[in-house]
Symmetry: C2
Subunit: 121 residues, 2 copies
Amino acid sequence: MKRKTYSCGLEAALDVVGGKWKVLILWALHDERRRFGDLRRTVSGISEKMLIQNLKEMEADGIVIRHDFREIPPRVEYALTSFGISLSAALSPLCEWGQLHMARIGAVKEEEEEARGRIEA
Amino acid sequence: MKRKTYSCGLEAALDVVGGKWKVLILWALHDERRRFGDLRRTVSGISEKMLIQNLKEMEADGIVIRHDFREIPPRVEYALTSFGISLSAALSPLCEWGQLHMARIGAVKEEEEEARGRIEA
DNA sequence: CTTTTCACTTACAAAAAGGTAGGTACTTGT
DNA sequence: ACAAGTACCTACCTTTTTGTAAGTGAAAAG
């Protein structure tokens, strides 16, 4: 068994919340618990596969809890654990930063995409 | 030209600092400017290709500046811009969170890896 | 004249992430 | 009898990301 080590806290945090969807799922849950289908509609663009896959990982990482009501038709709710809540708190300055510079970032990324388009064409 | 929009600040931030290496590079630069080779040694495990690739993107995103001394043998230094510094500031709570829960995260991720090993074997 | 240093570049290969389309079980409503 | 809704699962495929290994140029050191 290799000891998993991180060179800084960011690396550890990214290990839990990296990838394209997890922060968005976290965000969707940061103020209210939601059912699977509700999440699917809220996190726009996500596929069912990605949603469950990420939810499972997040559950394994202890940042969300799954509550199965064992009803038929099925009803399952997802919520943040206290660990997940602490994570979303740690993420909020980054969120604010992103919000503040959203226009700038979006503009730069558009340029980059256009540039790539020019090269590939 | 499609307007690039983000559903929350986190999405925008991740667009700039996503991926496996960028936060680590940012971290390596957050307290001092460094030469290419220095970065290569500091960010352990990164390949030259990934390092330049990420540095270029970060430069295009305005979070690092490249200073070429135009000497031979070549000498190039990288440093954070003020934008980059603001980003690293926004990242520091997440860094602290990661540091605080590093042991827990590492343990869970080890378990997950072992579990995957069991299945694949 | 060969080797070394440094900051890259390029071609190629491997791995990880993400997407699509279908299916399951079970009940309620028509 | 049949379609609809719910929360999934599975196999397969494409795209994106990451890694590896080699090469470049230009001067200076041996």
